[in-house]
Amino acid sequence: MIAQRLFGADRRIAIAIFVLLAAAVIVPVLNLAVSPSSAFYIPSYMVALTGKYLCYALLALALDLVWGYCGILSLGHGAFFALGGYAMGMYLMRQIGSRGVYGNPILPDFMVFLNYKELPWFWYGFDHFWFAALMVLAVPGLLAFIFGWFAFRSRVTGVYLSIITQAMTYALLLAFFRNDMGFGGNNGLTDFKDILGYNVQADATRSALFAASAVTLALAVFVTAAIVRSKYGKLLMAVRDAESRTRFLGWRAENVKLFAFTVSAVMAGIAGALYVPQVGIINPGEFDPANSIEVVIWTAVGGRGTIVGPIIGALLVNAGKSWFTGVLPEFWLFALGGLFVAVTLLLPKGIVGMWDGWRGEGKASRAASLAEEAGADPVEPEPKIVRTAARTPGAWSATGPEPQPAE
């Protein structure tokens, strides 16, 4: 049991953290300190692109905490990502100062254009990084808390919950499109100049943002793994598998869900905040319900409830998207839809889940052949090994992921 944990899920998480931390050092070095003619040189656009992917991976990890471990299929996680992005975007807008097209030292260009006389009250404070950073955490976290407080208390579950999360992001999409909301309307926030006094376009800044994304993702992996392994994490999975059982044991299932949902939204907000300076723009399109659905696909492809799986899924699907939109842009949506159908039908546990399944079978047959060589009865140890390898604690039960109604 302990050996299995050490060589199974725990080791995988340690490897993921190590790889991310190593990338945080190596990628910037290969971009900044290696000559562009060298075979090891990583071009700046690649740094920015992979940095963006890491933000998506963090978003997928956030979704995994609620979907994989608590069965809450949020179709609105893009909203938390976008809100974190807007908070960062507001900071970046105020750093432009008088360098904007209209040269107004206080008002961002779009406000001058829309005849704003003074800064709206909710833009106050965003000239300070610490304040913006606080809002990156607080705004998505508060929205998730309020939303979850009502939804979980009224025991909205399953597909109904998914639909209202989708409605939430759609409502925000419409709201942020409006010019009088004060967030730049259709065009969103862009033309950023500096972050913490450094030029956002500079190679060194891009490398630093990449490193920040990788380190944050590593930290998020660590925190998520710690949450999932705690007693609370076990409770989270218990709520996923048999919610009413937890209630009759005296647990408040709604609070269990609310905590995970809020933590997850904060993680998504951080992902959005790291994303915006790397892509240079945030606009209402980020609230598009389709974006949130894509996050679900990344997570499903990589394997929900595995922590590492959603990261792999986000990286692979987005790399595929970049490649596809370069070669056959019209077909990307078909490819994505086909991928989702294929994964749902053929790999219900995603890439990582399938890998675990293979390893389980391989281990079992190796154990059986070893036992045979030793002249022992190979039948005896086999079933046990198959079981423990194929069903690690906390994994989705093979009988079906939907929580059974308890009676």
């Binding site: 609370y232 009413s244 069903r391 093979a398």
Partner: protein, 248 residues
């Protein structure tokens, strides 16, 4: 009628689902420390009665009191569980993706809020209690096994073990021997009698051999109200009971 020495007191309780009266003017009193067997044909309302007591279903009318003074209709499932009412479901419900030991750990009496659970370190006393319960439910060998891999009967026992871990005053046990072998059934009767020594217990069961084994007062429900009450011999000699069980 005085409630003072009762652990459970139901009077004139009714509940309808879409016009269908599942519980109809039901009155039932359980004394402190008593074990009661409840029998009755399928659809008699036995499970619904437990739903009412545990706060899952609100009665349309009637009184439901716990421990003589607590009005259960004013509380929800989690509160009622914390007051000391434990419940085993008709369909065994354990946390399949957790080990047997973790199932008990989640049930163990203690604080039920998020942050203590997040930073929980298992205390020696908790481990001892889990060991005790594993011994009582005879699953010591399976402590690290996933609950999903247990047999049907073992899941029933694990769920009873989770009730014990909760340390309730009153246990509601819905069809504990469904799907068990004869040997397991006998074992379960022994286990419940053991538990009944220091708990109040309500057992719903169809299996008459099992009910006889328990040797306690029997209440027969039919169409949502009490049809007959007394010793098993008395109840099974009651003509109306015979009619309900055999007359169709």
């Amino acid at each position: 009628m005085s409630k003072s020495n009762t652990i459970l007191y139901l009077d004139g309780v009714s509940v309808s689902f879409d016009g269908f009266r599942a519980i109809n003017n039901l009155s039932l009193v359980l004394d402190k420390g008593e074990m009661r067997a409840i029998i009755g044909p399928n659809g008699a309302g036995k499970t619904t009665m437990m739903d009412i007591v545990t706060g899952k279903t609100r009665p349309d009318e009637g009184e439901v009191f716990f421990d003589g003074q607590v009005d259960l209709t004013r509380h929800d499932e989690a509160e009622i569980a914390m007051m000391g009412i434990g419940r085993k479901f008709q369909k065994p419900t354990v946390f399949e993706s957790h080990s047997v030991e973790d199932n008990l750990m989640l049930a163990l009496k203690g604080p039920r809020s998020i942050f203590p659970a997040l930073f929980h370190r298992r205390a020696a006393a908790e481990t001892r209690r889990i060991d005790d319960i594993l011994g009582i439910i005879r699953l010591g060998e399976k402590r690290n096994e996933l609950a999903a891999n247990l047999s049907h009967g073992q899941k029933q026992w694990l769920e009873i073990g989770m009730l014990l871990a909760q340390d309730p005053k009153l246990l509601l046990v819905d069809e504990p021997v469904a799907g068990m072998t004869d040997a397991e059934t006998e074992e379960t009767a022994r286990l419940l009698k053991d538990i009944a020594r220091d708990h109040s217990v309500v057992v719903v069961e169809h299996d008459m051999h099992f009910v006889r084994e328990l040797g306690v007062k029997v209440t027969c429900l039919h169409e949502g109200s009490v049809l007959s009450e007394g010793t098993l011999d008395f109840v099974s000699a009651d003509e109306r009971v015979v009619e309900v069980y055999l007359g169709r």
